[in-house]
């Protein structure tokens, strides 16, 4: 099973062409496929976002029917969360965790292959629902009943697709945990692991804990629809709010699944370009673990307006506010890492710094949202939309881009075009703020989310936001071009591509050979 037993002749016998990718069990091949798949989904989900922003460019309906608009908001979220961000992190985990812990491959290579190949099929099903009679799902990615039960033919296909994606995530997580716990090079103790490995270990546990909960919730939707159960129907003794509790018991840990690996990436990149060790390594580990624990006891802050008993609202408000403490520790540690370093500002560092700044803004609005009485105003408005796009786009997505720039030399053996990278960064960071910052204003001024049309007092900021949206969207094409260029050729990358880079992945040549660490490295 392990690469250590494979001889050279065996390598030559490996299939080539399409079949190579279909049957590969190599963590680097699978990592690359995950990352490219994620990029494709990022562009698909982005195109849907542009339909949304085109319709919202002006008041009145100009582009799409309201029902199609709802399909776009629903699918945009599902595609971005399950198709773009999660597979990107799994791709990074596949590529980097074995290299970082000195393992020859992932612990369960065949399952690794399967967990990737489920994704294209899951998304083929999910995206095909847009062409079914009655259209795709239009009840929001949260799929609240009873509205979700009004979905047409697409309904069972959506549920099935999400089951498939969930199975893929669970298998990916099992693989990550098995690799980290069993395959570290001798001497690589847990508290010596790079922070990216730590954050992924915790993320993987979160996923195994909550993906089955989502599966349960949507299966109950399915039986309510087709098999006469009434879990979520008051007429049969059920409760629509029960669904929301179950969903958000999955949903809140899910948002940390989308951000913890990003914390790990930023904690890797900042020390490299500050040429100074990460400040407070162990407090970073404990903060990550605390955030993960708290994520299980804050779910109902997504439901402050459903009419919970006041004691419940108070509990969830206090617990949510507490998350600010470990998150604050992380931000302070990053700033302390920069402090008195010797920084340079290559593209990965720029994205990492933008992450610290903009993710923190998302954290601030998150703290505001935690204040339950104020949330009675904020809830379900564009303020919330602005909040979670700051943490997911300028948070998760920026971290993924930073990681891509940081490790591209290791993956391709070539340095990317720094000039294009800087263009990509500056255009992204300017437009993303033009896109999302005004949405804070819109929400506070009273614009609800998920509406295709709005009254005229919201026109100005919507127009600015749409301009930012198109600018941000097209700026990503620079990245696609840069990536293509970098894969094809360019300046040869050294084994240690960055002056200040630490870690086992920089000990192997660039590009990383197909098989690495056949014999475990020596850990100092």
């Amino acid at each position: 099973m392990t690469a250590t037993t494979q001889d050279h002749a065996h390598h030559e016998a490996e299939p080539t062409g399409l079949k190579r990718w279909l049957v590969t069990t190599n963590h680097k091949d699978i990592g690359s496929m995950y990352l490219l798949f994620s990029l494709a989904m990022f562009l698909v989900g982005g195109a849907m976002a542009l339909v949304i922003r085109a319709e919202l460019f002006q008041p009145g309906l100009q582009v799409v029917d309201p029902y199609f608009f709802n399909q776009m908001t629903t699918m945009h979220a599902l595609v971005m969360i399950f198709g773009a961000v999660m597979p990107a992190f799994t791709g990074l985990a596949n590529w980097m965790i074995p290299l970082m812990v000195g393992a020859p491959d992932m612990a369960l290579p065949r399952m690794n292959n399967w967990s990737f190949w489920l994704l294209p099929f899951g998304f083929a099903i999910l995206l095909s629902t847009l062409f079914m009679p009655g259209g795709g799902p239009a009840g929001g990615w949260t799929m609240y009943p009873p509205l979700m039960l009004q979905t047409g033919t697409a309904f069972p296909f959506v549920i099935f697709a999400i089951h498939v994606l969930g199975i893929s995530s669970i298998m990916g997580s099992i693989n990550v945990i098995a690799t980290i716990l069993n395959m570290r090079a001798p001497g690589m103790t847990l508290m010596k692991m790079p922070l990216f490995v730590w954050t992924w270990l915790i993320t993987a546990y979160l996923m195994i804990a909550v993906m089955p909960v989502l599966a349960g919730a949507i299966t109950m939707l399915l039986t309510d629809q087709y098999f006469g159960t009434t879990f979520f129907s008051a007429a049969g003794g059920g409760d629509p709010v029960l669904y929301q509790h179950i969903f958000w018991f999955f949903g809140h840990p899910e948002v940390y699944i989308l951000i913890l690996p990003a914390f790990g990436i930023i904690s890797t990149i900042i020390p490299t370009f500050a040429r100074k060790p990460l400040f407070g390594y162990s407090s970073m580990v404990y903060a990550t673990a605390s955030i993960a624990f708290l994520s299980f006891i804050v779910w109902a802050h997504h439901m402050f307006t459903v009419g919970m008993p006041v004691a419940g609202v108070l509990f969830f408000m206090y617990a949510t506010m507490l998350i600010a403490v470990p998150t604050g520790v992380k931000v302070f540690n990053w700033v302390a890492t920069m402090w008195r370093g010797a920084m340079t500002f290559e593209t990965p560092m720029l994205f990492a710094l933008a992450f610290v700044f903009l993710f923190t803004i998302g954290g601030f609005s998150g703290l505001m949202l935690a204040i339950a009485p104020a949330d009675f105003q904020y809830h379900d408005t564009y303020f919330v939309v602005a909040h979670f796009h700051y943490v997911l786009v300028t948070g998760a997505v920026f971290a993924i881009l930073a990681a891509a720039y940081y490790w591209l030399p290791k993956w391709t053996g070539h340095m990317y075009n720094e000039r294009l990278g800087q263009w990509h960064f500056w255009l992204s960071v300017i437009f993303v703020n033009v896109l999302f910052f005004p949405q804070h204003f819109l929400g506070l001024a009273g614009m609800p989310r998920r509406i295709p049309d709005y009254s005229v007092q919201f026109a100005d900021w919507n127009m600015i936001s749409s301009i930012g949206g198109f600018g941000f969207g097209f700026a990503q094409l620079i990245f696609v071009y840069l990536l293509w260029q970098c894969i094809r050729g360019g300046q040869k990358a050294e084994a240690r591509a960055w002056e200040g880079a630490e870690g086992l992945e920089w000990e192997v040549p660039s590009p990383a050979p197909h098989h690495t660490f056949d014999t475990p490295p020596v850990i100092r």
Binding site: A234, A235, T305, Y318, G341, F345, P373, P448, V456, A459
Partner: protein, 291 residues
Amino acid sequence: MRKMTARRGLGLAGLIVGLMSVVSPAAADLGLINMTRGVTESSRQIYDLHMTIFLITVVIGVLVFGAMFYSIYRHRKSRGVKPAKFHHSTAVEIVWTVIPLGILVAMAVPATQTLIELDDTSDAEMTVKVTGYQWFWGYEYMDEDVQFLSRLDVDSDRARQLGSGVQPASVDNYLQNVDKRLVVPVDTKIRFQITAADVIHSWWVPDLGWKKDAIPGFVNEAWTRIDEPGIYRGRCAELCGRDHGFMPIVVEAVEKDEFEEWLAGQRGGDAAAATASSNEQSEVSDQLASR
């Protein structure tokens, strides 16, 4: 090179502002950037909470980002600095764990007070039952035998059709006008009982300070006491299907005697309309039951 890119970015921002001033409708408002103070005691408390927590985050932001940008400016390799070697300090870690905790406790106290007050619907002087439908609202004045439905007004409805050619700015209160307003008295504690007939909706008038979900099969309670007569506009805040964006709420607060007069008029004149609406209600629940 980076400087040049930044300058181009500025140019782009200028272009955007220029474009905006040409095409944006006259009624739009760039100054509309904050939460309303509203017209009730609770809405003002909520506004104050909002501004307090906002200012706290601004102060923390200035400190943290100040340190960060100072470091970016000073501690860069191009200035020939040598990196320091320090990598942890338990004392510092404790300080920046404990201080935020203190701030949070200070914030939690007023938030708790406001929350408990908002939750207390007792001693209400009148009760209005609000029912969410796909896609309009139903109102019933409890024990007064007055009920009606409230839908998007005809002008907005015409203008909002895909490719209608009607400029939204030319419609009076586009998408925030209804055919029949919810009329309520000022200086009266009004209890709302909020429910829905089909899917989940959410009843939200920003000037009252809160929204509450309307959930089929359950009744949620909330209350308000409006200080000033006026017309307050809101909308459905929970995705409820195709026309979620087209079910506005208009509350008209009037003096008490004016309200009594209005209510009396409704009892006599609109009995037929009331029956029609209750028929419709039972129709909807029949549909729901058959599903």
